[in-house]
Amino acid sequence: MDRQFSLDMKTRWGHMKKSGALLALPTIAWLFIFFVLPLLIVLVVSFLSRGRGGVALLPFTLQHYERTFDVFFIILRRSISLAGLTTVICLLVGYPLAFFISTRRRRLVQQITLFLVILPFWTNFLIRTYAWRILLGEQGTINGLLLSVGVIDEPLTMLNTQFAVLVGLVYGFLPFMVLPIYASVERFNFRYVDAAYDLGANDARAFLRVILPLTMPGVLAGCALVFIPSVGAFVTPDLLGGTRGLMIGNLINKQFGGSGNMPLGSALSIVMMAVVMLSLLVYVFANRRERGA
């Protein structure tokens, strides 16, 4: 019996060795401990009660979820609509930009125009966001310029508003839209457009029926890549939004400070994860349908 077992173990070991599973094991173990397990803990904590100092205690409760959809619903809705608006603006700005880059005839020009999109994003996200504080502030550059030209008499309030957050999000995530669309327009064969013209299509029809459907995978990937980090944004609303531009990411952050509430923070973060997962599902299904069509 014992020998049988050890033999069994040996062949299994040998099998694992041969299959390469052994090589994957340490990494899987790491990701399980530091990625999966923490998320599971968050899930459990989100159902626990709040103890003194904001820690989690038994018994189980649903109150944090109730509060999320009750008191904090307005902030949840704001986060989703700001992220949605960011995605739409990035698409409207990013698609023509990606189209412009990938239709440059000379390879060098194409590389330079692409590089000009990527280069600003080599700088730290904090600093890129901070730059908008200089521009949008009460005594900032834009107000200074407008006042000196005489367009306005009073400085505009732009910083610490939802507008500022929107600008910051679009600025922060625009390349995530441009790059996948660029990749799919680059692959697009423009002879199809000629064929469409030959078959009597006008410009709008050629774009809507030929170019857009064939570059749809890039559009979908870009939308997912912009929407997801926008929903969970923390730095942008923190530096540009003030209290009026508060998003769910800031709310979560607050639950981990001095007068925090860890279970509430966990519940908020689970709800945010659900939104993210939902948008990922939409992306996967849309992508599959697009490929199938």
């Binding site: 390469g20 990494t27 990625f35 968050v42 996200f125 200089i134 502030g137 410009d203």
Partner: protein, 294 residues
């Protein structure tokens, strides 16, 4: 006939408008992308404290940050900033080393191994890249708190967050990026080369070090450089997992940025931009050279 010509004329006008738009849009977009950065750099050289108008060139703010001066209201110490930078380099180096090994291993297993559950592992590798940073940050913060509480209960000794927690967190988000880059390289490589090495009598170990590894090395190096850059730049996850005395540069800079707009902060930002641009430029140049050699 006449109607048709009218329609064609309209079509042509729309097309001209569309073409103008296709030129105008990129110009506006490039302006939008570059103006904030250029304004930031410009005002780091402005002789007055204002960011509303430029009044003259100065290097005063740069010398201020080297001499422990940071505006009027906030306390600032050059020594603390340099210490934060050292911490960043340390965390980045260790996290990059660990994540490069783990990421390359799983990339190899996924590309060459035959075992069940590969799609699940794909998902596991993909998720850390897509879920919002704040989610990962707070889940790690809670995880470490729970783990340290249990540890204190069992052993009676208290452990506090510090370098070990930051490094563990950085390794976790870096693994996926290293694996993605290394896998792309492995996909380009011809598996016949390994089979040939085996046929010629090399054992798998030897075949790996003499054939596979040298061929995927450029991918491993660019993965490592990507990991290092991400590590140096990370703010959100570090913010939630760092302890007392283990502040990294981005966490330190965040403290400054939140306070107020000062020309000294603009100067620090300009220096940081210069450093990261140089770093990535060098890594790209190395990648280019490595790619052209293979």
């Amino acid at each position: 006939m006449l109607i048709n010509e009218g329609a064609m004329g309209r079509n042509r006008r729309i097309r001209r408008l569309g073409q103008a738009g296709l030129w105008l849009n990129p110009m506006v977009a490039y302006f939008f992308l570059w103006a904030p950065i250029l304004v930031l750099v410009l005002f780091s050289f402005n002789s007055s404290r204002s960011v509303a108008s430029f009044s003259g060139f100065t290097l005063k703010w740069y010398s201020n940050i080297l001499n422990n001066v940071m505006g009027a209201e906030s306390a600032f110490s050059t020594a603390i900033m340099l210490n934060a930078f050292r911490n960043s380099l340390f965390v980045g180096t260790v996290a990059t080393a660990i994540s490069t090994v783990l990421g390359t291993m799983i990339a190899l297993a996924m590309a060459r191994g035959k075992f069940p559950g590969k799609r699940l592992i794909d998902g596991l590798l993909f998720l850390p890249v897509v879920i919002p940073e704040i989610t990962q940050a707070i889940s790690l913060a809670i995880f470490f708190k729970v783990a340290f509480d249990w540890f204190a209960l069992l052993s009676g000794e208290r452990v506090f967050p510090g370098f070990h927690t930051i490094i563990a967190a950085h390794v976790t988000f870096n693994i996926s990026y290293v694996a993605i880059v290394a896998r792309a390289r492995l996909a380009d490589m011809n598996p016949r080369l390994e089979e040939a090495a085996n046929d010629l009598g090399a054992n798998p170990w030897r075949a790996f070090w003499r054939v596979t590894f040298p061929l995927i090395l450029p991918g491993v190096i660019s993965g490592a450089l990507l990991a290092f850059t991400l590590s140096l730049d990370d703010f959100v996850i570090t913010f939630f997992t760092s302890g007392v005395g283990t502040t990294t540069l981005p966490v330190f800079v965040y403290g400054l940025l939140k306070l107020t707009v000062t020309p000294e902060v603009n100067a620090i930002s300009t220096i940081m931009m210069l450093i990261s641009t140089l770093l990535i430029g060098i890594s790209l140049a190395m990648q280019g050279r490595a790619a052209s050699r293979v």
